[in-house]
């Protein structure tokens, strides 16, 4: 009797448990159903678009070629810092932001062909530059649509332009480039025309290179509203934003509904690993696939057989590698004098830095602001050598002699002592600064290192509160030296931090901007290059190839003139790791 | 139970404390006998080894640094020192209980007094918790605490010093021990309460029939309450006697000195005599008789300065033969009857 009632209780419990389990399962199921429904709906919406695309296919084929290889797998990047935003256009966007969104989520009308380095069509079906260079019109592909199915229209382009130049929007540095745009005119649903105020050789690149934002998503009444939209980017690109797990990762999944050729890799994961050592460890452990190593890391690991068995070490030049420089603030009494600046350059043993700090035989000592393998710079200019004797001689000539016998050079009672601002925590910068300090001491110049956290460092840089500073500039496919070297960019938070002022240089820069013919322009730039070399407003320290580590399971990682393009990579099915 | 009615006898007990500065002989060659149902008093200045003797009986000498180096403690026919720790635990609190000097700190502040009494009862007597609690209340009543039902659940800090000492006594007698060691039970109490406390002990002794080892430095108490007395000086026993005999006719010069310094009714002395000098440091005892530097005889005597007198039984009763009810021992070369 007793045992039976026990049995009944047990059965009741069992039933209850089963019901609960079923309930949970059904909930999960319904979630899935819902998801699938959503996806279906997506496809349907997209379907409409694709259908229309098919209709038009005769008129415009998709840009580029179908990517080769098997579909599937994920690509996991390592990011050295969490991007502040996923909006590529705001001031706070970093290199990392661009890695994530540019070309993956947001697309522009035109893009650079990675091999010929000429502009080619992307969202645009055609473009037309008026002979005077003052009118640029674009026609948008009819099949181009955002990931939510909305077609890309002329309104989106105008909206994007207006957002960038809106003073309330945090895009001041970008807006600066569009100063020459007078207005943007909508010609039709799919056609826009940019009217320029003056001729500028980069106008096409700038107008065509704008990353288009969907107006229906980003429309705002108050600019702050826009500034606060840092996550959940929506664009027309081959990937869709999936999630941003703050402090951990950002995930993009493939846009199954992409208007162009779909990439093969299903997911792009950006792991945030702030610790450089940890990033390498994770790569070795197979937890990440792709990273940008520090020079030291590359130098050491690319020679390590065990490491290179599973990891491909990519090292390649492209026009945007930029260079590292030490800037001498020309408002300071000592750096006013060209000879002193030149002496400083003579003091920096750049070969030694290249050999022992970078440990990269491919790295080069630049002579100016242009890409060393590009056509803008004058290839005949040779870097100043390391020559402390010459430096001493120049300093003596300039009147900086140790008059009072305290070991420090002085002139008119001003001792040659200056503070050298560095960004704290960047070991390479610190190492170079320590080297400069030691070398300067040897010739009787006292240098005090002044480390600041990046935020303060950049403020002081903008306010030009430094004697000397080191930093790196990134480059562009075609450089316009205006931003960094034109005297109008001194002060008022402009980028001519060191206060380089040279009338001839200014004239050359201005003229080059107006010169549409590339050869003529480059001639002007060669002359400008020579001036920079002679004046040495910076000590150009090094430029080095881009370096990447990539897991060997990825195929088709071709190095173009513009670097690598993750969109064309794939993993053969048998080596795929993630589903 | 030993043949001559002794409940406990200590034979040649020696205890040493090993410190950084050397070995301190806290108790040396102590022998004494406690008779059943009687009160035995152990008297001496502080630091003379009387508390250590008591703790030795309980085997509660902290080891290290202390160590019982030799001797026997025979309790009801068995040597306590040869028992295992486990066997000893069965005796502690059950057969032999102890009341300590400091009522303020001898109770655990975080348990109620009831819990602390019950703990002992439950341990030694196979009783249920309810019975044990009932016993605890009864014990509290027995020691004269008003409203024991209420008090049993109170914490020590809610009670006065006298009350706490009563609780200590209640705890000690809760298992009706054969021997109660009371280590200066009244020193920390007010004078008025002292008497009550001692009366209570007397009363309980009669009721339970236990022996009491009363450790004190107060000769007044000894005279009133003890049947027998042992006087300790510098870790040795100087003299043992029935209390009447001792007070009437002290044999050891130290005892004599102590008694002289005791104020007596009826005698008008302008100034009480004291024993000159101080108690020697147990690390550096003088050679010979330890009392000789302070002794009116020994300070000039070669033998006292070199040879230590052992405790010997003497037959010297002075004038009053009625005092012969107890055996008498003394350790002094010059005591009458010592060298015969």
């Amino acid at each position: 009797m007793n045992s039976r009632s026990g049995l009944v209780t047990f059965l009741v419990f069992l039933l209850l448990t089963a019901m609960i389990v079923l309930q949970i399962l059904s909930m999960v199921q319904s979630d899935r159903l819902y998801e699938r429904l959503n996806r279906l709906l997506d496809i349907q919406k997209g379907g409409v678009a694709t259908k229309s695309a098919e209709e038009k296919k005769e008129t415009s084929s998709l840009p580029g070629e179908e990517y080769p290889g098997d579909e599937g797998d994920w690509l996991i990047w390592s990011l050295g810092a969490e991007p502040a935003t996923l909006m590529g256009i705001t001031t706070l966007s970093s290199m990392y932001t661009r890695y994530i969104v540019s070309g993956n989520i947001f697309e522009s009308l035109l893009e650079y062909d990675p091999d010929s380095l000429t502009l080619r069509l992307l969202l645009a079906e055609s473009y037309n530059v008026a002979p005077d260079g003052l009118e640029i019109s674009f026609r948008i592909r009819s099949d181009a649509h955002f990931s939510d199915g909305h077609p890309v229209t002329a309104d989106d382009i105008i909206f994007t332009y207006q957002t960038i130049v809106n003073p309330g929007v945090d895009a001041a540095s970008l807006a600066n480039y569009y100063k020459d745009v007078d207005k943007v005119v909508k010609i039709s649903e799919r056609e826009v025309k940019f009217l320029m105020k003056r001729i500028y050789f980069k106008s096409l690149e700038l107008t065509g290179g704008m990353e288009i934002l969907p107006e229906h998503i980003y429309k705002f009444s108050n600019p702050e509203e826009f500034n606060k939209r840092i996550s959940g980017p929506v664009g027309s690109g081959p990937y869709i934003f999936e999630k941003w797990d703050v402090g951990r990762e950002i995930v993009l999944r493939r846009n199954e509904n992409y208007w162009g050729h779909k990439p093969k890799i299903k997911k792009l994961v950006y792991r945030i690993i702030t610790n450089d050592t940890a990033a390498i460890q994770s790569l070795r452990a197979g937890q990440i696939d792709f990273m940008r190593p520090l020079p030291d890391q590359y130098a050491e690991l690319s020679k390590n057989e065990e490491f290179t068995r599973g990891i491909r070490c990519l090292s390649y030049w492209h026009p945007a590698v930029g260079y590292f420089w030490i800037g001498w603030n020309q408002d300071r009494p000592f750096f006013k004098d060209r000879r002193v600046r030149l002496a400083m350059t003579y003091l920096v043993d750049r070969e030694m830095i290249r050999k022992h700090l970078l440990r990269n035989p491919e790295a080069k000592v630049p002579t100016g602001t242009f890409y060393i393998y590009g056509r803008q710079g004058d290839p005949n200019i040779q870097p100043w050598p390391y020559d402390p004797q010459k430096a001493k001689q120049l300093l003596d000539e300039a009147g900086w002699v140790d008059h009072d016998g305290d070991g420090i050079r002085d002139k008119d009672g001003v001792p040659f002592k200056f503070s050298y601002m560095i960004s704290s925590g960047v070991s390479l910068h610190e190492q170079i600064a320590k080297l400069v300090k030691d070398e300067a001491a040897k010739v009787g110049i006292e240098v005090n290192l002044d480390p600041y956290e990046w935020s303060i460092f950049s403020q002081r840089l903008l306010d030009r509160q430094f004697d000397a500073v080191n930093l790196a500039w990134g480059g562009a496919v075609e450089e316009d030296p205006y931003q960094i070297w034109h005297s109008s960019q001194i002060g008022n938070r402009g980028s001519n931090y060191v206060g380089f002022k040279n009338a001839e240089a200014d004239a050359l820069i201005e003229e080059a901007r107006r010169t549409l013919d590339e050869n003529k322009r480059n001639e002007l730039y060669h002359r400008f290059h020579r001036i920079l070399h002679e004046e040495q407003p910076y000590t150009f320290v090094y430029t080095r190839p881009e370096q990447r580590f990539l897991d060997k399971r990825f195929e088709n990682a071709i190095v173009h003139k513009l670097g690598v393009n993750t969109l064309e990579w794939y993993v053969p099915r048998d080596r795929q790791k993630y589903k | 139970m030993s043949e001559n009615g002794d409940l406990l006898s200590i034979e040649h007990l020696s205890v040493e404390f090993f410190t950084e500065d050397g070995a301190a002989k806290a108790v040396q060659d102590v022998s004494l006998k406690i008779r059943k149902g009687k009160t035995f008093a152990l008297v001496g200045e502080s630091g003379c080894g009387k508390s250590v003797t008591a703790l030795s009986i309980m085997r509660l000498i902290p080891e290290p640094p202390g160590k019982i180096t030799s001797g026997k403690i025979i309790f009801k026919g068995s040597d306590l020192l040869s028992l295992t720790e486990k066997q000893m635990r069965r005796i502690r609190g059950d057969k032999i209980a102890m009341v300590f000097q400091e009522p303020m700190t001898s109770l655990n502040p975080v348990y109620t007094v009831g819990e602390q009494i019950v703990e002992a009862i439950e341990l030694h007597q196979k009783k249920t918790a309810e019975q044990a609690w009932a016993d605890a209340v009864e014990m509290l009543q027995k020691v004269g605490i008003a409203d024991p039902q209420q008090r049993v659940v109170e914490y020590p800090h809610q009670m006065s010093g006298g009350m706490r000492q009563r609780v200590m006594v209640a705890m000690a007698i809760s298992c009706r021990p054969a021997l109660l060691i009371a280590d200066e039970p009244t020193t920390a109490l007010d004078v008025t309460i002292q008497a009550q406390m001692l009366d209570l002990l007397d009363h309980l002794q009669k009721e339970i029939g236990m022996s009491i080892l009363l450790i004190t430095h107060d000769l007044g108490i000894v005279a009133e309450r003890a049947n027998e007395v042992a006087v300790m000086y510098a870790s040795r026993i100087a003299e043992v006697a029935g209390s009447d005999a001792l007070f009437a006719e002290p044999l050891h010069p130290y005892t004599q000195g102590l008694l002289k310094s005791l104020p007596r009714l009826g005698l008008s002395v302008k100034r009480l005599p004291t024993i000159s000098g101080t108690v020697p440091d147990p690390l550096h005892f003088p050679a010979g008789c330890k009392f000789h530097p302070r002794c009116p005889i020994g300070c000039n005597d070669k033998r006292c300065q070199t040879v230590e007198p052992e405790l010997r039984k003497v037959d010297w009763w002075g004038k009053d033969p009625t005092l012969q009810n107890c055996e008498r021992y003394v350790a002094c070369w010059y005591a009458p009857g010592y060298e015969t």
């Binding site: 050592t277 460890q281 050491e300 050999k355 022992h356 305290d406 925590g425 030691d438 290192l449 480390p451 | -």
Partner: protein, 400 residues
């Protein structure tokens, strides 16, 4: 421990001497004190132990003394402080023999005040009058090239700011006994010079925190009541604020300098002292000698600091010893996180941070040696603190 309070005149031993004796009973304590003396010696003599300049060198037939010629103002003030400190210690020993016990503490206070004043004035004038010199002449290459001869170098012939990229990140070897760092500076040299930072941060920060703690504690304890209530709220605030975070914030937000770091550590760690002193003064203010002092109409300063303070200073002293260990630890943590003194000034914590290279290669010599230096220094001060506490604590002293 030097505190000369006469509690039991007939014992012939002052309280300070008693504590001193008790302290030295333990061989470990003595060893620790010797280690501290060693550390001090290293810090004081750093320019003579590790320097890229020679003591003496013959150039073109003339003798030069580059190390001595290039001693900086801070070197001179360190020497001065060391000499005054040693003199003070001698004076204390002399006091014990020559000065009447009852006035010893007064004499001692006066001497200490004078010593501190001498050090302060000396330091300031050193910084004003000693010219700053810069001499980065490469004497070694002069010898190699035969321009100079007869040089005597320091045992560690490297300068802490000198770079040598060719020999960067070398493990310990015959030339660089403890290896080199990321720009080829000698680790041993940097360790030796780094001891100055650690020790000075320790002492100055604790000095500041003790002074603040004593003053606040004295005022709260003496006045009690409303003053105490308000003061205790401040103490509570300081206790509740996440101290280390506060220090990082202030160090990061304000201009970076060693003095700032010292001051910040000092003003964030006085609460314990204040509480000790407050409790002690609570007890003391009811005692007769304080009442007597008050009734004599002595000024408050005199009552608080001459009459009451000596009775409560022992725990502060113990606390200060632990405080030095704590301050050294905090300074190295700050440097480790990149908030320390500007490079290339050597700091142990900053050296530690270079220990794992970005490639994940473990430069063990850059981690091990500075780490050991911090560890042993902190450990020693903690041990001395512990020893002092045991020596001062009467309960433990006369344990049964």
């Amino acid at each position: 421990m030097n505190q000369q309070m006469q509690k039991k005149p007939d014992w012939g031993l002052s309280y300070g001497e008693l504590v001193w004796r008790e302290f030295f009973k333990s061989r470990l304590n003595a060893a620790c004190l010797i280690f501290i003396v060693f550390l001090f010696a290293v810090a004081v003599l750093a320019p003579f132990l590790a320097n890229d300049k020679p003591f003496v060198i013959r150039i073109d037939g003339r003798l030069h003394f580059p190390i001595f010629a290039n001693l900086s103002a801070s070197d001179y003030s360190v020497f001065l402080a060391a000499i005054v400190g040693l003199t003070q210690l001698r004076l204390i020993r002399r006091n014990r023999r020559k000065i009447e016990p009852s006035i010893r503490s007064d004499v001692l206070w006066r001497q200490v005040t004078i010593s501190i004043a001498v050090i302060l004035i000396g330091t300031v004038s050193a910084f004003i009058f000693v010219p700053r010199r810069l001499d980065a002449t490469d004497y070694k290459s002069m010898i190699v090239s035969g321009k100079a001869s007869g040089a005597i170098f320091a045992p560690v012939p490297y300068g802490y700011g000198r770079t040598d990229l060719k020999s960067r990140e070398q493990p310990p070897n015959r030339e660089h006994w403890l290896g080199t760092d990321d720009v080829g500076s000698d680790v041993l040299c940097r360790l030796i010079h780094g001891s100055r930072i650690s020790l000075s941060v320790g002492f100055v920060a604790v000095g500041i925190s003790s002074v603040i703690g004593i003053i606040i504690g004295a005022i709260l304890g003496y006045f009690g009541g409303g003053v105490d209530f308000a003061g205790m709220r401040i103490v509570e605030i300081m206790m509740a604020v996440p101290t280390f975070f506060l220090i990082i914030t202030i160090v990061a937000f304000f201009p970076r300098s060693l003095l700032n770091i010292m001051i910040i550590i000092g003003i964030t760690s006085w609460t314990e002292d204040a509480r000790f002193i407050r409790a002690e003064f609570f007890r003391l203010r009811r005692q007769d000698f304080v009442r007597a002092a008050v009734s004599l109409g002595l000024p408050l300063r005199s009552i608080l600091f001459r009459h009451m303070l000596p009775n409560g200073i022992a725990p502060v002293l113990v606390n200060a010893t632990f405080g030095i260990a704590g301050a050294i630890f905090i300074e190295s943590a700050l440097s480790f996180l990149g908030f320390g003194v500007a490079p290339p000034t050597p700091s142990w914590g900053q050296m530690l941070s270079l220990g794992v290279s970005t490639t994940g290669r473990f430069l063990w010599w850059l981690t091990l040696f500075p780490g050991l230096a911090i560890f042993f220094t902190v450990l020693t001060y903690n041990l001395v603190g512990e020893g002092l506490r045991d020596a001062i604590d009467p309960r433990l002293r006369k344990a049964e």
